[in-house]
Amino acid sequence: MKIEHIIWSLLIVSATLFVLWQTTSDPEQLAGREYVKQVQGQWVPADRIDMQAGIAQVSTPRSIGLWVGAFFTLFIFSFMYRDNPFYKAAESTVVGVSAGYYMVVGFWTTIVPNLLGKLTPGLMQQWAMPGISPEPGSESWVYIVPLIMGGMLLMRLVPRASWISVWPLAFIIGTTAGLRMVAFLEADFLSQIENSIVPFVVLESGNVNYWKSFENIFSVVSILACLVYFFFSIEHTGAVGKVSKFGIWILMITFGAMFGMTVMGRIALLAIRLEFLFKDWLNLI
């Protein structure tokens, strides 16, 4: 037996014993258990105060969910060491559950209310959506068009007729491109130019706010320098080269800030999983 296997076996056995000991001997009886209380007819998570008041009770389904969540977290973490069957099982479960979930959500939130609910509102009211009006709207027949186009999209599954799916796809791409182009022009092009027009000397109650003025000047100079860097019609030599180099520095600082923010996000994700293991599962903190 390899030393690596012995070490891992010892670690897993020790961790299992610790988890069992913590679950059975936790003085607060919180480790490995989920408590709930009833509020306005709904079961909501209970806290320590509710437990002391005696209105909380252990929820078996939620407790099972807690254990499944904890093990799956550990399975995913195990990939840090090496690819392994536990990680594969967790990964496959996530993929499978997500695919199934999105399919069901797609059916109940798109096809039922947005298509069938418009074409046959009476039937849908009886079957699935009691809240909608049974009377069809005056322009409900228009929804036959998306029904036909949806059917055409499914032709992709038939190799001989797959060309039919290109037409609705072209419609989707065309409308999306048109919709987005207007929004980008307004919000990211015109508005950003407007946002960049700022006073170089900021006056506040008759006095110059030097810091704000410097911020504005630096912002405008940085924008212009970055634009010069992407201006390839003139050779980047002499003064243009120097401004362009300043633009590169600004871009690098921006990428550094973006990297820092991304790191912060990833650490927060790790922190919540560890909090889940230490607090929700094992009640160590």
């Binding site: 709904q42 209310p113 809240g131 909608i132 009006s133 927060a268």
Partner: protein, 289 residues
């Protein structure tokens, strides 16, 4: 000897780095390390926008995130609901993420059902649920809410919900509060909401990955922005200081609590970047010798 150590460190198995990062995050959590937060201007702007609303004003809470970003955005969402509930605002929840309804329900359960049981569903808050269609949904509901929302998340006809009567479109909201994990999210609310309709005010809380792309929209298109867990901690501090008496519940201090691991992990990260660069130059020097 020195060369051997440099070579060994340069070829260090990356799993040791993973282990160091695990300890850097785990130890502050176990030791409950917390540091005081000084709210930035952006966090104060977000707080100020909600603070200036009057009781009964309508606010839209668009929670466009899912469990994968709950760690960063959950604390912001909790603080937003807590702030709105304390201000007695009418809360309209919706989401453009398929798993968003669960996030909304969790927020409602964590704050409203637990600490504000007097608030009535349909009168003080309503969950409009998820609608597919990405930015198309925003574009439509900015002018006509009922075109897409005929029922709430529970299947109840929107016209039978007291607080939905008289609401024609999202332009009737005094403020849009968006918690965003990506697409569709904050950018789309800016593009199709606050830019297209300048009278509509928008504040947002976004993930760290998204934040740098959103800063250019502040302050004209976006009145305030909370970036990542740091923004959440700052805003949480402001809300707790004004509305929570005594020590806040752990649920209301998640942002501040998660800044402890952030500090230690960032120090480790800086050390690793410096060490990596020093090793790189030392290796180059050895190669020249």
């Amino acid at each position: 000897m020195g060369i051997a150590i440099i070579e060994k460190l340069a070829a260090l198995d990356r799993r040791w780095i993973f282990l160091m990062m695990l300890f850097a995050v785990a130890i502050p959590i176990l030791l409950k390390m917390e540091f005081p937060e000084k709210p930035s201007q952006l966090a104060r702007d977000v707080f100020g926008e909600i603070e200036q609303l009057k009781p009964g004003d309508k606010v839209l809470l668009a929670f466009d995130y899912d469990p994968s970003s709950e760690g960063e955005l959950g604390p912001m969402a909790t603080s937003f609901i807590l702030h709105c509930a304390n201000k007695e605002l009418k809360m309209y929840f919706l989401t453009l993420f398929p798993v968003g309804p669960q996030m909304i329900e969790e927020g409602i359960s964590r704050v409203i059902l637990t600490d504000f049981p007097d608030l009535v569903y349909g009168e003080d808050y309503v969950n409009l649920g998820y609608k597919p269609g990405y930015e198309g949904v925003i574009k439509v509901i900015m002018t006509d809410l009922r075109e897409l929302y005929t029922t709430d998340a529970r299947g109840q006809n929107i016209d039978q919900i007291p607080m939905c009567k008289g609401v024609e479109s999202i332009q009737d909201m005094k403020l849009i509060i968006n918690v965003s994990a990506g697409y569709p999210g904050c950018k789309e609310w800016v593009q199709y909401g606050s830019t297209a309709y300048p009278d509509v005010k928008l504040v947002a809380g976004v993930t760290g990955v998204q934040a740098p792309y959103m800063y250019p929209y502040v302050p004209k298109q976006l009145k305030g922005l909370l970036g990542a867990i740091k923004g959440a901690a700052e805003y949480e501090t402001l809300v707790n200081a004004k509305y929570v008496e005594g020590k806040p519940k752990p649920e209301y201090r998640e942002g501040v609590r998660r800044m402890g691991p952030q500090l230690i992990a960032h120090l480790l990260m800086i050390f690793l970047i410096l060490a990596g660069n020093v090793l790189f130059f030392l290796q180059k020097r050895i190669q020249r010798l």
